[in-house]
């Protein structure tokens, strides 16, 4: 039963107030993209055992989507941040590196 802090309204929301949305920072591929690009966009998921970036919506609160950095093996949460970015913010990256020195990085 996770708790994630909504970066918009500051509520430490419990999982039942949220809706999960799987992997974050996916790049959309529309018409004109190659079959491989489109397949990767739709299906190929990092699904890591370890540090993961994912989408959550504060459904029962402010209704906003936000992103979370979380370890899928321990459920440790490194931070949450607004969804309007194309990659994780530097402070989150730094925090993960401090907690997980052998982490291979976001890319």
């Amino acid at each position: 039963m996770l708790i994630l802090e909504c970066p918009y309204c500051g509520v430490k929301a419990e999982e039942t107030e949220l809706s999960p949305g799987y992997e974050a920072h996916l790049k959309r591929f529309g018409p004109g993209s190659s079959p491989e690009e489109f397949e990767a966009y739709m299906f190929a998921r990092k699904n890591p055992k370890g540090v993961h970036f994912e989408r959550w919506r504060h459904t029962y609160g402010c209704g906003k989507w936000f992103l979370a950095a979380r370890c899928t093996a321990t459920l440790e949460v490194f931070g949450t941040y607004p969804a309007q970015v194309s990659e994780p913010p530097a402070d989150i990256i730094a925090k993960i590196q401090a907690r997980r020195p052998d982490w291979k990085g976001y890319k």
Partner: protein
């Protein structure tokens, strides 16, 4: 390998059972094998078994990180059915169900297959139409199912509340030869049979890397050193993503938690398996008397084998509403497993971008019922290098051009 029988038991009883031999050997790995299966769960062991039985390939090792049968094989709710909608699904699940019918005799190990009947309740008109579609599909697929009335549901399951104020039962999809089996016994029975053919089951041996040359697999790096192989089968369910990464490719898979629970044992009160999809819950009664209960998956990636409790609550609410008598029973134990969900919720039995490396994964929430069929199809794929008809549609490239085998359609999307 000594045969199991009532006479063997009587013979051993006289000497206080001191003469039983090991069910399977625990050898040290050889330098190389004709084939290595990673993952000694039901699917991996069944693959090895049918490699030997159907293709005479017995120079095989099954490598397991933990203890055999310790993953989802030992964590599921043991339901066996084949009332699927899409042709490829119905084919492989029915193959599995048919193999289950005689598996105890074949393995000389009682897996307690219990074709006690399984029904899926229809609790909305939309669901009625969905199941009528399945019945018609099954009729053409050679899967015996029927549509039954609410009254017949009540006869089969006296403890059900068919007149629930909220979702009255409008009928059910009934598979009389669906049922359950003893999950551990399936793994143990296959393991004993594999060992009996001279295959090596190597437990407590974790694969750390996949080695290849010129695009062809050559073996695996393990905690017990390098082990060479001509062919490699990856059959590791929730950890498929990690193994695929070692082998250099990515899968359309997400690992999520699925939970189940049992009640304390009570005297027999329910003879069939009941699934109620509108309210998200299913229940059967084990041979020990426990009510075995399952529900939906979590919605986020999770490798902890622990799910979120609110799903258990949702499932129990649904089942108390459907079976009011269970309210005063007690939950004895709850647990979770990691299931591997694909983009269309159907499995992958496929060649991979790495030569002679094959993968069997993506069974999601439905793996146990498929074990014999999955092993059968995977063995054929590994032995021949090309899929047979059972596996043909389940290739990992089907997503690219949208050739789905979508089983969620029976549940529909909107009204």
């Amino acid at each position: 390998m000594k045969r199991y029988s009532v006479f063997a038991i009587a013979r051993e009883a006289v000497r206080y059972h001191l003469g039983w031999e090991r069910a399977w050997a625990s050898p040290e790995p050889k330098a190389s094998y004709d084939a290595i299966i990673v993952g000694a769960g039901g699917h991996g062991l069944a693959t090895a078994y049918y490699l030997g039985k159907n293709f005479g390939i017995t120079n095989v090792a099954v490598i397991e990180k933990g203890w055999l049968g310790g993953g989802n094989t030992g964590r599921n709710t043991t339901i066996i059915r084949s009332n699927y909608l899409q042709d490829p699904s119905a084919a492989i699940y029915e193959k599995a169900r048919a193999l289950y019918e005689t598996l105890s005799q074949e393995l000389n190990y009682n897996i307690m297959f219990s074709p006690r009947g399984l029904l899926m309740l229809a609790q909305s008109h939309h669901e009625v139409r969905g199941y009528l579609r399945t019945v018609h599909a099954n009729a053409l697929q050679g899967v015996q199912t029927e549509w039954i009335s609410p009254q017949r549901v009540k006869e089969l399951v006296p403890i059900i509340n068919i007149d629930g104020p909220r979702y009255p039962v409008l009928g059910a999809l009934y598979q009389a030869r669906g049922g359950t089996a003893r999950h551990d016994a399936v793994a143990w029975g296959y393991a004993r049979a594999c060992s009996g053919m001279g295959m090596h089951i190597i437990q407590n041996c974790e694969v750390k890397g996949v080695r290849s040359e010129n695009g062809q697999v050559t073996g695996v790096e393990t905690t017990k050193g390098f082990i060479g192989c001509k062919k490699l089968g990856i059959v590791v369910a929730g950890h498929s993503g990690q193994l695929a990464e070692m082998a250099g490719f990515r899968l359309p898979i997400e690992a999520v938690a699925l939970q189940a629970l049992v009640s304390e044992p009570i005297k027999p009160c329910m003879d069939v398996v009941v699934m109620a999809n509108t309210v998200h819950g299913y229940m059967s009664q084990s041979d020990k008397g426990e009510m075995v209960i399952g529900g939906g998956t979590d919605g986020f990636n999770n490798y902890t084998q622990r799910g979120s409790f609110h799903h258990i609550e949702e499932t129990l609410r649904a089942l108390v509403e459907t079976f009011p008598i269970i309210s005063r029973l007690k939950m004895l134990r709850q647990w979770g497993g990691i299931v591997d969900m694909t983009g269309d919720r159907s499995p992958i039995i496929s060649k991979t971008p790495l030569g002679n490396c094959f993968i069997n994964c993506g069974w999601g929430t439905g793996g146990f019922k498929a074990i014999p069929g999955s092993g059968w199809a995977m063995a054929e794929l590994m032995a021949k290098g090309e899929p047979g008809p059972l596996a043909a549609e389940f290739n990992m490239w089907r997503f690219k051009e949208g050739q789905f085998i979508d089983e969620s359609v029976a549940a529909g999307v909107a009204h």
